[in-house]
């Protein structure tokens, strides 16, 4: 039996989907409404799953007293109420699609020292979700 723990977090941010690889017309055609030059926003939900042994002393894989402030510092504080394209350095070079946001959040949370990050799942809206479980597996 393998055990994992999943915690859900939220942030609200704006973005615009526009790729410098394409012309304005192609961007408009490819991204549609999401290409609006003024940007738009979402209430993102981030599910963070960690695995590892359950510590017999605490009954925990990861203490939320450690995981919550780590996620807050690495993701929520730098992403919440921001314009992702301009205020998160990563997205000056890549398009802040939720695929790329999921990878960037995974990269940031992979450093969590107390348990192994298994998966990041993001709901961009209640209808769209994206998962990234790292390379390898």
């Amino acid at each position: 039996m393998k055990t994992s723990l999943t915690r859900r977090y939220r942030f609200a941010a704006s973005h615009r989907l526009h790729s410098s690889h394409f012309t304005a017309e192609v961007n408009q055609q490819l991204y549609g409404k999401c290409n609006n030059p003024y940007g738009h926003g979402h209430n993102y939900v981030v599910e963070v799953t960690v695995t590892g042994p359950v510590d017999p002393a605490t009954g925990m894989i990861a203490n939320l007293g450690e995981l919550d402030p780590f996620v807050e510092r690495e993701v929520i504080e730098p992403f919440d109420q921001r314009y992702l394209n301009e205020e998160v350095a990563e997205f000056q070079a890549s398009v802040p699609t939720t695929e790329n946001v999921a990878r960037e959040i995974y990269r940031r949370l992979e450093k969590f020292p107390a348990a192994r990050l298994e998966r990041v799942r993001i709901e961009e809206t209640s209808k769209n979700s994206f998962e990234y479980a790292g390379e390898g597996d």
């Binding site: 999943t6 002393a57 605490t58 009954g59 925990m60």
Partner: protein, 155 residues
């Protein structure tokens, strides 16, 4: 095996039944000092306890029986969940009233593990695939078959 037709594999179905129970708990490790307990467990260390509406999702994987079209009759699964989990844990204090949790901190991880072990011998059709226990909508633990052992139950 995606995209390949592997007999016995490509028609596997997962069925999930949900059940709820409400229970009290608190976190306290008697081997730690009161200060250490407060530092590690925070508000959850309140000795008067607190409670949650737990939501349990149990997933069974297997082949539908050719005669019934079912992996496992959900009515049977409902009865197993009732007798093994709800009757043991609903409206109970998990620290004091559930023998299977004795000596364990009743965290989401440990409760899910106890439920996994309670259910494993009771699932006689299909195999136990996942136990997911929500302590709140924003926090849940999953127990799944250990890949190293191939399966938590029968293949």
């Amino acid at each position: 095996m995606e995209g390949k037709s592997v007999p016995g594999k490509d028609t596997m179905i997962r069925i999930t039944r949900k059940v709820e129970f409400s229970a009290a708990h608190f976190y306290h490790n008697p081997d730690m000092s009161p200060e250490e307990n407060r530092r590690v467990f925070g508000k959850c260390n309140n000795p008067h306890g607190h409670g949650h509406n737990y939501v349990l999702e149990v997933t069974i994987a297997g082949e539908p029986d050719p005669e019934t079209g079912m992996v496992l009759d959900l009515k049977e699964l409902k009865e197993i969940l009732q007798s093994e989990v709800v009757e043991r844990m609903d409206h109970r204090h998990l620290n004091y009233e559930v023998p299977e949790l004795a000596g364990k901190i009743p965290t989401c991880e440990n409760i899910a593990g106890v439920i996994w072990r309670l259910l494993l011998p009771k699932i006689t059709k299909g195999r136990l695939d996942r136990v997911r226990l929500y302590e709140s909508p924003d926090l849940f633990a999953d127990c799944t078959a250990d890949a190293a052992n191939g399966s938590g139950g029968r293949k």
